[in-house]
Symmetry: C2
Subunit: 131 residues, 2 copies
């Protein structure tokens, strides 16, 4: 976990950085999760996305239970080195635990006090579970 390239990341006080998973083909932003040093090292080693689950306080190999692994095509960091982008192939075409293509399936419509979040994406695989 002490490789130079990992140390160049400005991990936050909890040792985490936000990681955006983007579909390598469509460019669609699929999800935002968190990584720590070990999850990023494993992601590079295995070529499949491994995140850090803040709710379970544990490494979270994406797709471990659902089969919806993310094959990583590219890993990027930003100017401040405190955010990560993964370009991934989203196996099965489902990144969200709700069974949708992406977690960002709600869009803001309207203005001011009348704005509301509207679901735009269908569930493509009912009964999908986290992981």
């Amino acid at each position: 976990m002490s490789a130079d390239w990992i140390d160049e990341i400005a991990w936050n006080a909890e040792g985490l950085a936000p990681a955006v998973a983007q579909d390598a083909s469509s460019g669609e932003v699929l999800m935002l999760a968190w990584m720590n040093r070990e999850s990023l090292a494993r992601t590079l080693d295995t070529g499949e996305a491994v995140y850090w689950s803040r709710s379970r306080n544990a490494l979270w190999k994406k797709g471990e239970t659902s089969g919806h692994v993310q094959r990583v095509r590219e890993i990027r960091i930003d100017c401040d080195a405190d955010a990560i982008v993964l370009k991934v192939e989203s196996v099965g075409g489902v990144a969200c635990h709700t069974g949708r293509r992406r977690c960002f399936f709600r869009k803001l419509e309207g203005q001011g006090g009348k704005a509301r979040w509207v679901e735009t994406d269908p569930v493509v695989e009912p009964g999908t579970k986290h992981g």
Copy 2:
């Protein structure tokens, strides 16, 4: 700041949520910044991205000094309602304070201990400053 749609967001302990700005035309992920309630409300009202600067502890109207405003085409939230995606038109084609198109201009190359971050994007506007 008490609109229902704002209250539906799971703001973190500091009252913030990560916001990913994505180029509406190219699909490129430009930057990751942070928003609070007021910055998101102003973003919707004005149609241009307003973030929260954690370093300056202040609202940060993107492009206020540089002119590189982000015209917001779409606002999305994820399944957990704790992350935001903005699809934007990046005015001037520069989103990064380094004068690059995007903040994610470094890509990981190589494997294991020999991996390193490599700059892939040219500076298109030298002397650009934050804002």
